[in-house]
């Protein structure tokens, strides 16, 4: 996650977060598809995570107001959280955000939201067990679980891949032992 060259970290940084500007910004309209224009105070724009976090911690002038305020990204909106609370396994995380967990973790470093943390860690546990079941399925992971597996986020995909490859390697090793004699 922290590596400079980690592609997933870069993609996480590129995820859009809604933020609201608190000041008028001249000549910054290109951020709001209004090239050459100004940004008025109270405009809501979705900006990449790397930019919005920098703007949100920047304090300007004697008033010490931040340049913009951040909101939680739509991938952890209340609607999504309710769906995750109801059944974590039916939610298509990939369509919400490619790097759902990492993006959420980055946002939660900035927000104090105990409830979201609880919901997300419960989600991960429930889904990890489900992922393991699909990965160990010797008849191949595609079949009844294809819909679920399509909805895995990047981290879960790596988890699935590790579990699947290792169980395959184990079967191969045991099968090879049988062949030797």
């Amino acid at each position: 996650m922290s590596s400079y060259y980690n592609v997933d970290a870069i993609l996480t940084d590129a995820q859009k977060v809604p933020c609201t500007f608190t000041l008028d910004l001249p000549n910054m309209g290109f951020l709001d598809e209004n090239a050459g224009g100004d940004i008025k105070a109270q405009t809501a724009i979705s900006l990449p995570l790397w930019l919005s976090t920098l703007l949100a911690v920047q304090r300007l002038g004697p008033s010490q107001t931040p340049l913009c305020t951040l909101d939680l990204p739509p991938s952890v909106s209340q609607r999504v959280l309710n769906a995750l609370k109801a059944d974590p396994r039916t939610v298509d995380l990939r369509s919400l955000a490619g790097n759902f967990y990492e993006g959420a973790a980055r946002c939660l470093e900035l927000f104090e939201e105990e409830e979201i943390v609880d919901v997300l860690s419960e989600t991960f546990k429930r889904r990890a067990a489900e992922i393991a079941d699909h990965a160990y399925n010797p008849r191949g992971a595609l079949g009844e679980g294809a819909d679920f597996l399509r909805g895995l986020d990047e981290m879960e995909r790596q988890l699935f891949r590790a579990a699947h490859d290792s169980s395959k390697a184990m079967r191969l090793w045991m099968g090879e032992l049988k062949k030797k004699n």
Binding site: N6, S121, A128, D165, S166, L172, W173, L177, K180
Partner: protein
């Protein structure tokens, strides 16, 4: 991440490490000691039991120059008692007790020789059991029974590990004591 190398040890690598485990053999031929990189092998004098590394034992077994004495825990009686223990508790069956003042770790513990403690699964039980069943099934009493019990044990322990994911949380942990090295 860009490298397609698998993270950690692959099963053949784990099996390779396991081949350093000492097993007891009954040689059928005399053999003077060989000075190898890993240390000298013991001299073989036919009717006497000798402890050798597993790789040498398997080699001699394939050439029909030795018989392997399976470790006591690789018997149907011992395995089924471990299986009963596994089924009755939520945790894993404990590893064999270490002799006092032990400073080494597997594969350098004598956990697979004829003098190993029964009724407890050592670190390399899965790999060692599989390899012995494949190469020396005629030296093991009731090999089919042993094979079935090994598979049952593996499945019981896999199910426990899967259930362990559910209780993972900051501050709480799953006790993996007694889990061998072949767990993938």
């Amino acid at each position: 991440m860009a490298l397609p190398l698998p993270a950690g040890l692959t099963p053949p690598e784990t099996a390779f490490l396991c081949e350093m485990e000492l097993v007891t053999i009954i040689p059928r031929q005399r053999l003077e000691k060989l000075n190898l990189l890993g240390g000298p092998t013991p001299p073989f004098a036919p009717p006497h039991r000798t402890a050798t590394p597993l790789w040498l034992a398997l080699l001699l077994k394939r050439q029909r120059r030795a018989n392997i004495l399976p470790p006591p825990w690789l018997s149907p009686r011992s395995l089924s008692s471990v299986l009963d223990l596994e089924k009755s508790t939520a945790s894993f069956s404990p590893p064999p007790a270490l002799p006092p003042h032990t400073t080494t770790s597997p594969p350098f513990l004598p956990s697979a020789t004829a003098g190993a403690p029964p009724d407890a699964l050592p670190y390399h039980w899965l790999e060692l059991g599989e390899m012995l069943l494949e190469a020396a099934s005629d030296d093991i009493p009731e090999p089919d029974n042993v094979r079935r019990l090994m598979r049952d044990l593996r499945e019981v322990r896999m199910a426990k590990m899967r259930a362990g994911v559910g209780v993972l949380e900051g501050g709480r942990e799953v006790n993996l004591n007694g889990v061998g090295g072949g767990w993938r």
